[in-house]
C-alpha cells in the first residue's frame, strides 16, 4: 500500500528549518540572495527532504499491514538522492511505499521508499528509509 501527500514549501518554514540545522548559506535564508543565484525564492537545504516526506512516510510506517512494533523500533539507516532543487513556493508530492521486510541476526529490517516530485512533475528526491525492530 502506498501513501501520497502534497507539501507546500513555505519561505519561513525553509528559514526555520535552516536555523534549526545550522544552515547559514544566504541562498537558504535570503530571497534576494536566492534570486541572485537564479532561484525564484529561498532554497531548501537537502535534508529538508525529511520535512516534505514526513506526511507520507509516517503513515507508511504506521500502516498496520506492515506490522511494526513501535516500542522496539529504531531508525537504522537513511539514504537520499537529490535531483531538481526545492524552493519556497514549490508543492512537493511524495509517495511512500513499504519495499521489503527481512530478518538478520534476530533483528527485523523494514525498508520504505519515498519518491518526491514538484508541481511540474519533476523528480526532486528519492529516499530509502530503514527501520529496525529489536
Amino acid at each position: 500500500m502506498s501513501h501520497s501527500v502534497t507539501y507546500a514549501v513555505g519561505r519561513e518554514k525553509v528559514r526555520e528549518y535552516a536555523y534549526a540545522v545550522g544552515e547559514s548559506d544566504p541562498r537558504c535564508l535570503d530571497p534576494e540572495a536566492a534570486r541572485a543565484a537564479g532561484h525564484s525564492d529561498v532554497v531548501a537545504p537537502p535534508m529538508f527532504a525529511a520535512v516534505y516526506c514526513s506526511g507520507a512516510i509516517g503513515p507508511a510506517i504506521l500502516d498496520p499491514e506492515v506490522g511494526i512494533d513501535f516500542a522496539r523500533m529504531v531508525h537504522g539507516a537513511q539514504a537520499f538522492t537529490w535531483h531538481e532543487p526545492v524552493v519556497a513556493g514549490d508543492e512537493i508530492t511524495t509517495e511512500a511505499a513499504h519495499e521489503d521486510t527481512s530478518e538478520r541476526g534476530g533483528l527485523k529490517f523494514f525498508v520504505f521508499t519515498t519518491r518526491s516530485v514538484n508541481q511540474r512533475g519533476e523528480l526532486v528526491c528519492e529516499g530509502r528509509w530503514t527501520n529496525i525492530v529489536r
Binding site: K13, E16, Y17, Y19, A20, V21, G22, E23, D25, R27, C28, V43, P45, P46, M47, A50, V51, S54, A71, V74, H75, G76, A77, Q78, A79, F80, T81, W82, P85, R128
Partner: protein, 119 residues
C-alpha cells in the same frame, strides 16, 4: 586530495525543541527526559535526521553550495545527546565518493556515511 575534514557542532539544550518545531517530529523521546528514560534511553535524544543534516552540511559547506549534494546515505548507531560536541569527519576517495561519520563522546553515532557531490 582532500584529507580528513572535520565539522564540529554542539547541539544546545533547546535544540531538540527547535528541530521538532522545524521538522514536525514531536516524538517524546526527543523532548521529555522522563519519558525517554522510561523507554530505556539515557535521557531525551537528538533526532537522527538532525544529525544526518549535520553530515549533509559538512559536505555542502565544504563545497560552498547548499545544492552540491547529489546523494547521501548513513547508518545510525547508538544515540546522540544534547549539550555534547559532535564531530563529523569526511574524506574524499579516489573515485570522488566521500566517506563520512559522526562521533560524540568518543562513540560513532553515524557510521558508514557515503556522499556524492554533483559533478
Amino acid at each position: 586530495m582532500d584529507e580528513h575534514r572535520a565539522l564540529k557542532v554542539t547541539p544546545d539544550r533547546y535544540l531538540t525543541y527547535r528541530y521538532a518545531g522545524a521538522s514536525g517530529d514531536f516524538n517524546p523521546i526527543h523532548l521529555d527526559d522522563e519519558f525517554a528514560r522510561s523507554v530505556g534511553l539515557p535521557g531525551r535524544i537528538l533526532h537522527g535526521l538532525w544529525t544526518m543534516a549535520q553530515v549533509a552540511r559538512a559536505q555542502t559547506e565544504a563545497a560552498g553550495d547548499p545544492l552540491a549534494l547529489e546523494s547521501l546515505e548513513v547508518q545510525f548507531r547508538g544515540v546522540g545527546l544534547p549539550e555534547a560536541e559532535i564531530t563529523v569527519t569526511s574524506q574524499t576517495g579516489e573515485d570522488g565518493t566521500i566517506t563520512c561519520h559522526a562521533e560524540q563522546n568518543g562513540k560513532k553515532i553515524v557510521k558508514g556515511g557515503k556522499a556524492k557531490l554533483r559533478s
